[in-house]
Symmetry: C2
Subunit: 479 residues, 2 copies
């Protein structure tokens, strides 16, 4: 079967060594490079272009909900970071410190932002005076730094790119509404654009963000059965407002604290795309996010008219809004096919002298390798159809894979058996006691991923201690 044929011998098979397969794809698809700065990565053009498409689409969706972009300084004075107790305890151990500016030591050291709650709060304190100034719906696109010990391309690095939204509201209800709105926006984006199905839920207190009242999360399952937290949205209540004295005069002329949220998505989404959709021939990009959607590969391109026709076809396709390139390099067609597959370009168009004579071309779909021959006149319609089908089926396939790798555990023996033998999500009831979370983590390395919004009762008792259960939890090993 063509589908199982491994065209590029140079990469490790994902069944043999998933981690090595991942590293191979990142390298061979030229997504990222290593730098001389330990733990920091270089986004190469193919990797950065995916991020640009993610940014464009997310930014459009943010703005539709009234969000405006701003830019805050990258430095946070130590005293500002320390203002909210839980927050500083969560982040201080992993920040980078600037101690010298030019040739002089600084009076107060500055950390490079690991996240910007404290800066936004410091700003809002002066910016918000009256109910007329609310809500504030600000977002920024920037890089942040967390001094991680172990790093992996896209998934964990000392510097990464993200967006962080920070909002302030007059009421607790409005803040809660915005927290859930953004989580749902993230979930819809993942499913509609990245073709990645996600579980929407709430983090346990143990796993929530430092300083938050509630953290909501979307959790995706990778091909190897590990979970990836793909976006989070936090409700801060008025905790930061009290620490930073962010008050406004309400319509009733009384001074009140604001309620705040923050929410973020990062370049680890690119890692998710790789690990959900990739195969042994390399990357498979969902058409909606692919920087190049169509790779036109001329066959026998030195024959008169072949290259010209390829350019002509590409120009016609571009005019319909498709993102198209022509591979006119002097490599062999087979090599070009392998490269197109490695880079995950959703569709290739093969076109040789005989095809051109017959006014036709061959379309090959990246994920299934399905081939169809179509008239050059109908090429744009045919490709649009293939891309739409592919986008839809990639989501369905990922969902089927996730569902097939989601297991119910009714007691601890079952739980441990699944963790050991069946990589995937484990659904298990929980008593609400952090001790059980800790025990599970220590003994199995699985963590509580979330308490899903769609709660079910699959048992009456906690999967760990056997006491009465309060919540259904998704558990899993995670990146």
């Amino acid at each position: 079967m063509a589908k199982d044929k491994k065209l590029v011998e140079a990469i490790t098979s994902m069944e043999v060594d998933f981690a090595q397969w991942y590293t191979d794809v990142v390298k061979k698809a030229e997504l990222m490079g290593y730098s001389s700065v330990k733990g920091c990565m270089i986004f190469k053009p193919a990797g950065y272009a995916i991020w640009e498409n993610i940014q464009r689409e997310l930014d459009r969706r943010f703005k539709e909900t009234g969000v405006e972009n701003v830019y805050m300084p990258m430095f946070i004075p130590e005293s500002l970071l320390e203002r909210e107790k839980e927050h500083v305890e969560g982040f201080a151990p992993e920040v980078a410190w600037v101690t010298h500016g030019g040739l002089s030591p600084l009076q107060e050291r500055l950390c490079v932002r690991p996240t910007s709650e404290t800066l936004f709060c410091d700003f809002y304190k002066d910016e918000i005076q009256s109910y007329r100034d609310l809500p504030k719906l600000y977002n920024q696109w920037c890089s942040v730094v967390r001094w991680e010990k172990e790093t992996r391309p896209f998934l964990r690095s000392r510097e990464f790119l993200w967006q962080e939204g920070h909002t302030a509201h007059a009421t607790a209800e409005e803040a809660e509404e915005r927290t859930q709105q953004m989580l749902n926006l993230y979930a819809d984006f993942c499913e509609e654009v990245l073709a990645i199905p996600v579980i929407r839920g709430r983090k346990t207190d143990k796993e929530k963000f430092a300083g938050a009242e509630a953290t909501y999360t979307i959790e995706a399952l990778m091909h190897d059965g590990k979970a990836l937290q793909s976006g989070t949205s936090h409700n801060f209540g008025d905790g930061f407002a009290k620490a930073f004295e962010i008050q406004y005069t309400d319509k009733d002329n009384r001074l009140k604290y604001v309620y705040q949220t923050s929410w973020g998505m990062t370049t680890r989404l690119i890692g998710a795309i790789i690990m959900v959709h990739g195969d042994d021939s390399g990357l498979v990009l969902p058409p909606m996010i692919a920087p190049v959607q169509v790779d036109v590969i001329p066959i026998m391109q030195t024959k008169e008219g072949v290259l010209d026709k390829a350019y002509e076809v590409a120009d016609t396709l571009k005019k319909t809004g498709l993102r198209v390139k022509v591979d006119d390099s002097d490599k062999s067609p087979g090599w070009k096919f392998s490269e197109q597959e490695m880079r995950g370009i959703p569709v290739r168009v093969e076109m040789g002298p005989r095809d051109i004579e017959a006014n036709q071309a061959i379309i090959v779909r990246r994920d299934t390798r399905e081939k169809i021959t179509v008239s050059i006149d109908d090429l744009d319609t045919a490709i649009q159809e293939v891309l739409a089908t592919m986008q839809k089926e990639m989501l369905e396939r990922a969902r089927a894979h996730r569902d097939a790798h989601t297991y119910d555990a009714h007691n601890y023996e079952e739980f441990k058996d699944i963790v050991t033998n069946k990589p995937g999500f484990i659904r298990g009831m929980w008593c609400g006691d952090e001790a059980c979370e800790n025990k599970i983590k220590e003994e199995t390395t699985a963590t509580s991923r979330c308490m899903p919004f769609e709660q079910e009762k699959i048992s009456d008792v906690c999967v760990c201690c056997g006491k009465p259960a309060k919540k259904l939890v998704y558990w899993g090993k995670a990146y």
Copy 2:
């Protein structure tokens, strides 16, 4: 005359105190805020939206010339920064140093990038092996840090946003061509989009970039007669390639050094827009870069049907691609007019019950305050015309202002008289000796802005020392 009427009393007149006028506009138009981090600014939504439009248009133009975006780490190890001698001497005194990661001191300190030549070179060293890998045409959008002592919003701050392009070529000719191509791209962008006329030229050796063989620049004249360097493009020759050992195997199978360029534009362009186009009522934004182009202001908006009509008109205009908002706040129309003017929105549409009854509206142009009454059916065409005319006339007016403030000096007495009494560009011949540049700078604070590409001979002798002249130079006091 309506044009001279000062609608908003709160800001300082530019004729009284230009520096204070500038600060007032930045604050009142809500472009930027001060942060708790000394020397670092906050880009508020109105300011950041201008930057987003600059980015979108520049990025499009870059990509049309084959440039691809990447992202490099924000940290540079000290040993890497030190690799090229002139470069480190230029930047080391003004960088911020990270000395601790998490709770531990670093083995080697890292500076926060003041610019990324060294990182790109370190990357190219491995990335470029063969002539097939050339040219590399990479760019990145990011923030950089320079530990400045004196700071001013947009013009000089410890952190600022920019793009930095870094290219590598097989030949010196190709590198030179790219250096000039990007300078011309910058100049066209300034003139066509920002309506800012610029002088294109080459920096003297004294003023060129640390490590460059040649630096090209575009220089604009602000309303107060001071110059602003608005974009630079550097030809490095093979200097960095030799320091970093960036070699490729050419078609003749010989190992050769690459030739490199870099080029950048920054958020100081927003400062240029303010200082070239602004007036005593605030900001005046060129239509092409304005985040909001049309402010629809309903008159007597509580009357039935007025607000609905305003929304309807706005929706119709949006569909033609215009960027439109409706000011439906509960402020008075006069207050809304002042705000629209302060924020520099190019056109406002006034629409009251009688106008609506007569199926008409009033268009007011921000720069000239010209009013026209048009049928609501023709509103989109009329506004498009007004915006196009305004864009064109803003450039013409800025060019006329610059030309009226450009003076020829034939000897040092004349030069000193102009510097003292006539703010603007001074054109004066130069012998080529750095001693004359130094003397002029010390005695008058004017610096050589550039040797314009369009050379003329306005005298045979150096304006400073009287010895035979080699080049026409634009001199001026600069931001």
